[in-house]
């Protein structure tokens, strides 16, 4: 049986989401030249929620896409289990736009590096920012830091941080588990 601990429950998650949206509005104002890009597979729920919340607050449409980084990862052929690609759905060009990359958990930073590569397929953005719900501190393999953070947490390598959403038929919340095997 895995050890599993809730660190952020549904109500707190909602407050955090609200705060992050207001921080985005503070920096981006009306979102005419700003788009959201959720990273597949787990960052898309965070992107969906952020988009809905922003649209509710602003009363206008916010553009959002899903970006899959599988083909741009640096661990292809170097891992035991192969990676399965997910759908990339970016129905706009990012040329000259402010892009906000969204992911649920920031760990080594390698996914974000792959995402930066994958993103340039859709144009040259004016500015790119990174928003994550959970920042696992002191675990980075690359010089990548988030611009907006829900909560920074101290973890060790043998632990796993899991963000769950109602959309996945789970209760909203953030959990820390200890991996059964590493």
């Amino acid at each position: 049986m895995q050890d599993r601990k809730c660190i952020i429950h549904a109500q707190l998650l909602d407050v955090m989401l609200h705060r992050l949206c207001h921080q985005l509005i503070e920096n981006h104002r009306d979102f005419e030249a700003t788009v959201l890009l959720g990273l597949q597979p787990r960052g898309i729920y965070f992107a969906d929620r952020t988009q809905r919340r922003l649209e509710k607050i602003l009363g206008e449409k916010v553009n959002k896409g899903y970006l899959d980084t599988t083909f741009h990862r640096d661990d292809f052929r170097r891992r035991d289990s192969p990676l399965t690609p997910n759908k990339t759905d970016v129905p706009f060009l990012v040329e000259d736009k402010n892009v906000i990359l969204l992911d649920d958990v920031l760990y080594t930073g390698r996914s974000v590096r792959a995402a930066l590569d994958a993103m340039v397929t859709f144009g040259r953005p004016r500015k790119v920012e990174l928003m994550v719900l959970i920042d696992r501190k002191y675990t980075r393999h690359l010089p990548i830091e988030p611009d907006y953070v829900g909560r920074a947490v101290n973890t060790i390598d043998s632990q796993r941080v899991l963000v769950e959403w109602e959309e996945q038929n789970e209760e909203d919340g953030v959990w820390i588990t200890s991996k059964a095997t590493t």
Binding site: Q40, P41, R42, D68, T69, T70, F71, H72, R73, F76, R77, R78, R79, D80, S81, P82, L83, T84, P85, N86, K87, T88, D103, D104, V105, Y107, S111, D117, V120, T121, F122
Partner: protein, 314 residues
């Protein structure tokens, strides 16, 4: 973060459809979906195979398959070397294994091979380290063609399961026919072959498929007709009196299609002999998905290369 799944191909080689499971075919399809998406972008290239070198070894002529493989490899950022037997030491008496070992000594990770002898890629796979992809071995199998054919049916009709597919023409000499029969059966389609008695293998119905000599019967029965080329280069003796007579009995034309009780989809693996097995008024019509097959070919081959390459841990 990316998901880790155990979804992969079991074998390090793609030698034939016969060895694939239904789940593996579906995995190739779902991966091909993502690559089709990539091919429709303005930048059609991904860096996945940037540290992989692939040799295209063609001991038999090919335009489409070779181009398609080469494009697929380049769009995955692999390094590509091409080899054709007409301009090589094979002419000087080198054996297959020696030729390929020499290519492998130059640090090649994958070999895509077409050969006139059935089983040549199987032989190779036993003797070398690299991943082997069969791009057609004599009259035996042509797995990527069958994958792109069934993928095209899947795209056009939404599903392959329960569909009726007629394969018309030179079944005897066609590797496309055999691979297609295996792929269609694994995906739950019904298959009927149709052609002159001399070009239908005697025990073909033992594969669990139907067989007819009557083109109209086959076309009335099916949802999709895959029309094959007469492979004159493989025919040592005369199997029918003349191309003209073949065309009269087994050529598909607009008039025949219009007289059917439904609109069927027409496929052809290419190259077409216009006016023999397929008339221009059909080949260029709305019912034909021949060029879609070619387009899907690149995506399907990218998926196969990607899945095979991803197994190997360096």
């Amino acid at each position: 973060m990316a998901t880790e799944t155990t979804q992969t191909l079991r074998s390090p080689h793609l030698l034939g459809i016969k060895d694939l499971s239904t789940e593996e075919i579906q995995l190739i399809f779902s991966t091909a979906d993502q690559f089709k998406d990539v091919l429709n972008r303005s930048i059609k290239k991904v860096p996945s195979l940037r540290d992989v070198t692939i040799a295209n070894v063609f001991f038999e002529n090919s335009t489409r398959t070779r181009l398609s493989f080469e494009l697929a490899e380049k769009r995955l950022s692999a390094d590509v070397v091409n080899f054709s037997s007409s301009s090589s030491s094979v002419k000087k008496g080198e054996t297959l294994l020696d030729t390929v070992n020499n290519i492998l000594a130059m640090k090649v990770d994958m070999v895509v091979m077409r050969h006139a002898s059935p089983g040549a890629p199987h032989f190779l796979a036993k003797h070398i380290e690299a991943n082997v992809i069969n791009a057609g071995d004599g009259t035996h199998e042509h797995p990527t063609q069958a994958l792109l054919d069934t993928y095209s049916i899947h795209q056009k009709l939404g599903s392959v399961t329960g569909k009726k597919v007629a394969i018309v023409g030179d079944i005897m000499h066609s590797r496309v026919a055999l691979s297609n029969i295996f792929a269609l059966q694994k995906l739950g389609a019904e298959v009927m072959v149709c052609g002159p008695a001399t070009l239908l293998p005697k025990y073909i119905t033992q594969l669990g498929i139907q067989s007819t000599l009557d083109l109209r019967e086959a076309l009335e029965w099916c949802d999709v007709a895959n029309i094959l080329r007469i492979q004159l280069e493989r025919q040592q003796v005369k199997y029918f009196p003349s191309l003209r007579e073949y065309s009269l009995y087994y050529g598909v034309n607009k008039q025949l299609l219009d007289s059917l009780n439904k609109a069927i989809t027409i496929m052809h693996p290419g190259p077409i002999n216009r006016g023999v097995e397929l008339n221009s008024d059909v080949a260029d019509s709305e019912q034909a998905i021949i060029l879609d097959q070619v387009e899907n070919g690149v995506a399907v081959r990218m998926a196969v290369l990607y899945l095979l390459a991803s197994q190997k841990n360096s």
